[in-house]
């Protein structure tokens, strides 16, 4: 399919989606967690939301 069109060797058409899905999934989850953390910290008083260490 695409791999043939692009002249990729056998195996790459599985390797590339594998890496994309792995880091894509981690990325989406990370964005979700960090955003949620920001939102929550804006709703809490200072001493409850600062992580110093």
């Amino acid at each position: 399919m695409d791999a043939v069109v692009l002249g990729l060797e056998d195996g790459w058409q599985y390797v590339v989606p594998g890496y994309a899905i792995t880091f894509g999934l981690i990325g989406i989850y990370a964005v979700w967690v960090v955003r949620r953390g920001r939102k929550l910290s804006a709703e809490l008083p200072d001493d409850e939301r600062r992580f110093l260490d």
């Binding site: 195996g11 599985y14 594998g18 890496y19 990325g27 967690v33």
Partner: protein, 260 residues
């Protein structure tokens, strides 16, 4: 990679923003250390795993999936779910909310890495075995473990008073680990009776830059996992604080009922 950019843009934002009110988030020195480590290791992993290391003799290019598949399996099944087990045990002994939240955060990250393990395992299987799924014992037991911990996370979301929910989650966190082991060995036994040796991702022979790529993958996944764990735990911690606050507010509101 994305998660590191997030940390960095976070830093940039906090420098720019005038009101530091919304700048704290869940970041700190600790997460920055993990974040930088994750970023550097992941970049190195991508270079070594995708560019420098050679294709394997039998598996060809698909061996490159191995460098993320096995590390994410280890992070998920061995590290994350073990933290859930330990957190559950400590919670039952000391009723420490810290460890309850830690157990929950670790389970969630374990489930994410478990999903990655399954996806990369199937993508590895297609060129190697010719099919996405070959009822390989490790992959099969990982799939069941994934569902075990999805169930655990569902129990953590039950609408129960906090101390009741924590107690149940802690007990389930311990039983689930026992189940994980039972599932693993029974599936392994089952498959060993029915087929000869097949190519298994873990049996791959590595040397030189391939071995180095694998170690990079290991370290990168651990750094990413640690970074995520700290952030996720802090989110849970703040949710806890927020629940306390809204409870305090709800109590005041409740007390004023019928006075107007």
């Amino acid at each position: 990679m994305t998660r590191v950019t997030t940390t960095q843009s976070e830093d940039a934002k906090s420098a720019k923003s005038k009101a530091p009110r919304d700048a704290f988030g869940t970041a700190s020195k600790l997460t920055r250390v993990f974040g930088v480590a994750a970023f550097v290791l992941t970049s190195a992993l991508l270079v070594f795993a995708l560019v420098i290391s050679p294709p394997e003799v039998i598996q060809g290019e698909s061996v490159r999936l191995f460098y993320i598949h096995v590390p994410s399996a280890i992070v998920s099944l061995y590290l994350a779910f073990s933290i859930t087990l330990v957190g559950s045990i400590i919670y039952l002994r000391k009723k420490s909310i810290f460890w309850d939240l830690m157990a929950g955060a670790a389970a969630e990250i374990g489930v994410i890495f478990c999903a990655i393990t399954l996806i990369t395992g199937m993508l590895w299987g297609r060129p190697t075995w010719g099919v996405y799924w070959k009822w390989d014992p490790r992959l099969t037991s990982t799939a069941v473990s994934f569902l075990l911990y999805v169930g655990y996370l569902a129990v953590r979301k039950l609408e129960l008073p906090p101390h009741v929910r924590r107690q149940r989650a802690a007990i389930l966190g311990i039983i689930s680990f026992a189940n994980l082991i039972i599932v693993r060995y029974s599936v392994q036994w089952w498959r060993s009776l029915h087929q000869g040796t097949t190519l298994d991702p873990v049996d791959t022979q590595l040397d030189g830059s391939m071995l180095f790529s694998f170690f990079l993958g290991m370290l990168a996944m651990i750094a990413i996992g640690a970074w995520l764990l700290v952030h996720r735990f802090r989110v849970a911690w703040m949710e806890e604080r927020k629940a306390e606050q809204s409870l305090a507010a709800a109590i005041v509101e409740r007390q004023s009922e019928g006075r107007s």
